[in-house]
Symmetry: C2
Subunit: 265 residues, 2 copies
């Protein structure tokens, strides 16, 4: 399980202010702290208006690359912003994201192919997020036919089966987990990722819900998540889940983390 660090996101007020003021200090702090906590990638989302986004995303890329070698996830639906950022990125990034919407496929997928990046593929159709796992899997199948046609290998695709909060639909997590199992069975080489914290939106004590969902999702085939790498409870839960699922030989990672003080005895 690898974590895409979620914190550099312009929809958060402090990040938006840092971008507007070109305040590198806060952004580099978020970059280095997430990288040191073990993030495999850092998500960069400028969250700004289309006309500002190319400059803002490039500034984020430059600012973050100045302090860490951790690869980047370019989080934008704006082809112009993505192309500007791709020109500056030093290590192979992941583009976040395409979906079943034609304009996303036509505008963004060629960039992924041209620059040889990874690509997040959301299980969203032209008409929104399908309500059943089967319908989401139909979208995923269509998306992978497009990524393959564009010459992108399955192992460079990060399918996001999506999860909505259980606060508004009791079956949200079940639908997401079932989609994960179908994707894992149907496309063994693709990666899967999810915006973890959506599952608990509007509920109290969200962290414990996120951790429980992550445990179930890892069992269903999830191998990356957009999440907070500084959440030690979440890191602990990942180690526990991987150990319980037989993926931590001789429990070495778990015992090492314990010795290093990741969690209390």
């Amino acid at each position: 399980m690898r974590i895409i660090g979620e914190k550099i996101n312009g929809t958060r007020k402090k990040v938006a202010a840092a971008i507007a003021d070109r305040d590198a200090g806060y952004v580099t702090h978020l970059a280095t702290s997430q990288a040191e906590a073990g993030a495999a990638w850092l998500d960069l989302n400028a969250g700004t208006r289309p006309d500002r986004e190319p400059d803002d995303l490039v500034w984020l890329v430059d600012t973050v690359q100045a302090v860490t070698d951790t690869p980047l996830v370019l989080d934008s639906a704006n082809p112009a912003a993505l192309r500007s950022a791709l020109e500056r990125v030093e290590r192979t990034p992941v583009i976040n994201s395409i979906s079943g919407e034609r304009n996303r496929i036509e505008g963004i997928l060629p960039l992924a192919a041209e620059y040889g990046t990874g690509i997040v593929a959301l299980a969203i159709s032209e008409t929104g997020i399908p309500e059943t796992a089967t319908a989401r899997m139909d979208v995923v199948r269509d998306l992978i036919s497009h990524t393959r046609a564009a010459g992108i290998k399955d192992e460079d695709v990060y399918v996001d089966p999506l999860v909505l909060t259980v606060a508004t639909n009791n079956d949200s997590a079940v639908i997401s987990l079932e989609t994960m199992r179908m994707v894992r069975a149907g496309f063994p080489d693709v990666h899967m990722t999810v915006g973890l914290s959506n599952v608990s939106f509007g509920l109290p004590a969200r962290a414990q819900i996120n951790r429980g969902f992550l445990t179930l999702a890892i069992a269903a085939g999830l191998d990356t998540a957009i999440a907070d790498p500084l959440d030690k409870g979440l890191q602990t839960q990942i180690l526990v889940a991987e150990m319980l699922l037989g993926r931590d030989r001789h429990c070495l990672n778990y015992v090492r983390a314990s010795r290093n003080g990741l969690f209390p005895e």
Copy 2:
């Protein structure tokens, strides 16, 4: 998910001393605290020599029944002790346990039938704990042919698929979970229970392992567990898992527990 309170167990030193000294205070404390924390049953295990066990188990039954109405699980492999206890029990108990061992089936199953109790059925054969889920399921199938032949309804059977520590076999939890899925698919009316804490034996920070395993086990069909009902983290994890699995309508149980202060915001 219902919890069988595990604390009144004579293999624990303080309980053994209380039994030897007929110190009702400590035992009634364990009984009331577990019952108030929501235990659906209280496990009573005298843990003493066969010649002492009938008197000791009867004393436990009398002592606990004097302070709580919570039903009991009579935890013994000794038919004489079980019969003595069954004569004193006021509410329908569960007997813990039979296994695929002939002497257990012949000595204990008739008592369950005669007294109309529930019965825990361990997936252990004459030669020990099978190493694969398929082999454990063979034992379960054999056990259920016996319980059915004895006139015991499937809904009075509590199959224990067993879990050993992942410290000595990386696949222990996977084998247990796979057995649970097979039992749930093959015998939809039986209950399933497990001695939860075995999974983490010999490892650091056991509580978090137990909670992670419980989450996966609930998804695999487990509906009762022998555990510590006073472990608020475990109670929390149960609420989270049931909510994520779509079994907590409108998240009412989870939100109510939050309002009642079960877990920090």
